[in-house]
Symmetry: C2
Subunit: 364 residues, 2 copies
Amino acid sequence: MLKRGPVPLANVAVMPSTDGSARPRHLGDLPTPALVIDVDVLDANLRTMAAVHPGAALRPHVKAHKCTSLARQQAAHGHTSFTCATPREVIGMARAGLGADLLLANEVVDPRRLAAMATAARETGAVITVAVDSAETIAAAADAGLSSVLLDVDVGLPRCGCAVDDAGRLADLARARGLEVRGVMGYEGHLMVPADGDDPDGHRRRVDEAIDRLLVAHAAVGGDVVSSGGTGTHHLHRLRPGVTEVQAGSYALMDSHYGTHGHPFGQACHVIGTVISVGRRHAVADVGLKAMGMDHGNPTTSAGAVWFLSDEHLTFAPASTAAVGDRIGVVPAHIDPTMAMHEDAWLVRGDEVIDRWPIDLRGW
Amino acid sequence: MLKRGPVPLANVAVMPSTDGSARPRHLGDLPTPALVIDVDVLDANLRTMAAVHPGAALRPHVKAHKCTSLARQQAAHGHTSFTCATPREVIGMARAGLGADLLLANEVVDPRRLAAMATAARETGAVITVAVDSAETIAAAADAGLSSVLLDVDVGLPRCGCAVDDAGRLADLARARGLEVRGVMGYEGHLMVPADGDDPDGHRRRVDEAIDRLLVAHAAVGGDVVSSGGTGTHHLHRLRPGVTEVQAGSYALMDSHYGTHGHPFGQACHVIGTVISVGRRHAVADVGLKAMGMDHGNPTTSAGAVWFLSDEHLTFAPASTAAVGDRIGVVPAHIDPTMAMHEDAWLVRGDEVIDRWPIDLRGW
C-alpha cells in the first residue's frame, strides 16, 4: 500500500476540489466520469516492476500517466530516470524536481519547444537527453542549446528511428555538432504483444532479433545507454544482456489490452461511471468516448457486456439488474490516451478516497 | 468569411500565447499538433445550415466543438438556443452570456452538478432545460431547483430515453414535481448515416419511423418543443413537419465520417502536424491518437496513406516525397472527441493565423 511505501502520499488531508467544495471522501461521492486509481494495486505494480528492473534499469515512461505525482511514486521506488514523449512532459517533470535524467524518446524539430527544454534544464539543473534520427533533428537539438542525445534506431516498428547502418554516421554528426551521444534507443512497439499464433518462444525470438539490430547500431554509435522495451517485453529484457534500461509505462496502471497477456500487474485504474438510464435490455452509464481512449477498441466492465460508446455514454447489457444511480467501474482498453482525457485522478483504497492527483502533463 | 459576418472576430490583434510569446502569424509557425479551423469554410458551413434551419429551428450542439467562441459565431448566424451534453458545457455557455435557451440533452443525477446548473441559471438569467427519462432523473432535477425539462424518448438508438408509451406518465410526474415540461426530444443517432445497402429513400423512411415514435410521445407529453436530429439527418427534417428544432453539431467543423455522405458542408477543421522522421517507405508526423478521436477509425490526410497512429505519431506512406519539417493536414474521423483533446483552436485563412479560440468547455 502506498501509505506504507517509501514516500508517504502527499496531501492526504482534505483538499479543496476544483469547484471549491470539500474533497469527496467516498467512491460514491465522486463526480463521474471519474478516473480512479487503486493505491494498493498501483503500489503492488510498482514494487513488482522494481524487483525485476530495479533503479536505473527501468526508465518509466511518463506518457502512460502524464502525472508528476505518480512519477514521484516511481521515483520513490528507485527509478529516477524517466522517459517522456512530449516537450511538455519533459519540462513538467523538470519543474516538478524529477529531472535527474529525462529522455525525450521522440523526435522534435520545433525550435521554440526545444529551446524551452534547454531553458528548463538550465533553470532546474535537469539532465535532458533527446532522441534524434536524422541530420535535421540533430541540427535542431544542437541549435536549441541541448547538450545530449540518443540515436533512435529503427528496430522493426515502422515509426521513427534511423536505419541501423546509418546510426554511426549520425552519431559522428551529432558529436561534430558538440552533442554528447549517450547511446541508442529503439522501441520494438510492434512486439509489445505476441502476434496471433506466436508462442512465447517465437515472441522472444522476434524481440531478440529486434534488440540484435539495436546492439549492432550501438556498436557503431557508442555510449553507455541502450534503451528499449516496454511493459509487453519487460520480462524478456531480463533474460538477455544488452539493453541497459527498459522504457515501460503501462505497467503502473494497466489496461485491458495488456491485461490479457499474463503480466504480473493488476488493473490499478478504472473510470467510474454512474448509471443514468435503464432500458429493457440495456443500461447507460456516463463514461463515454471522451473519457476513454478508443484506439484499442471498447473498454470492458464487470457490470455487463459493452455494446457501444458515444461521446458521453456507455451502453451495456447489465450482468445483473441495474438502477439509475448505480456506479460501474470501466477498464480502459488503452491507458495512455485515457489519462490524457482527464484533469485529475482520484486515489482510492476500497471505498475511501485518499487523494487527488492532477494529470498535469497533458498537451504538448 | 467570418470577418464579413454579422459579428467580427474577437481579438484579431496579436494575443499572447500560453507560453508568453507572440501569437504565431503563419500556419507554419504553429506549434504542432495544432487544431486549425479554416474561418471561411466554417463561415460557409454556418451560413448553409442557417439557410436550411434558420434561427430557433436549429439548436446547435455544443458537444461537437466545446468552444464558446464558436458558439458565439453560431449565435451571430441567428441560433440562440443551444444543445449541451454535460453540465460543464451548460454552465460555461451560461457564464459566457450564451444562455438564452440551453438544453442539457442528457440525463444527469449528480445533485452537485444539477445544483450548479440551477445556480448558474439564477446568477446569469440563463434558461436551462434538462432531459429526463425516469422518475429518478425527474426527482434529481426537481430537487436541484431546476425549472424545466424535456422528456427524452427512445426512438430506436439503444441509449437514453424512455419508452414511447411511458412518456405521458413521466410528463405528469414531472409536472407534479413543479417542473415545466417543454416537450420531447429523441435522438435517432443510429440513423445519422445510412445503413449499408440503404438507399436515400430507405434512410428517409427509417428516420420518418423514428420521428413518428417521437411524435406519438409528444402527443402524450405536450409542450412546444420537439427536438431531434443531427448533421446526418438535418436535410430530412426539412422535408416533413413535426420536429421543431434540429440538434446538429458536426456540421460546423465536419469530419471524415460525415464528410463522405454528400452533405453541403466543407471540412473546416484539420489537425496540423509536422513531419519528424522519414523512412524509406514511410514518414512520421507528430499527430498521434492523443490529438485525434479514434473511435471512428483512422483519420485521413492528403499527404498520403495512413498506416497507423501511436500516442504521439502518425505513420503514413507519403503521396510524394516527404522531408523532416514538412507540415501535413489531417482530417479527424470524429470531430467531437478531437476537439476535447485540444486546449485551443487556431483560426486561419490560407496561411494567415487570425485568432485563437480556447476550447473552454472540456471536461464534465
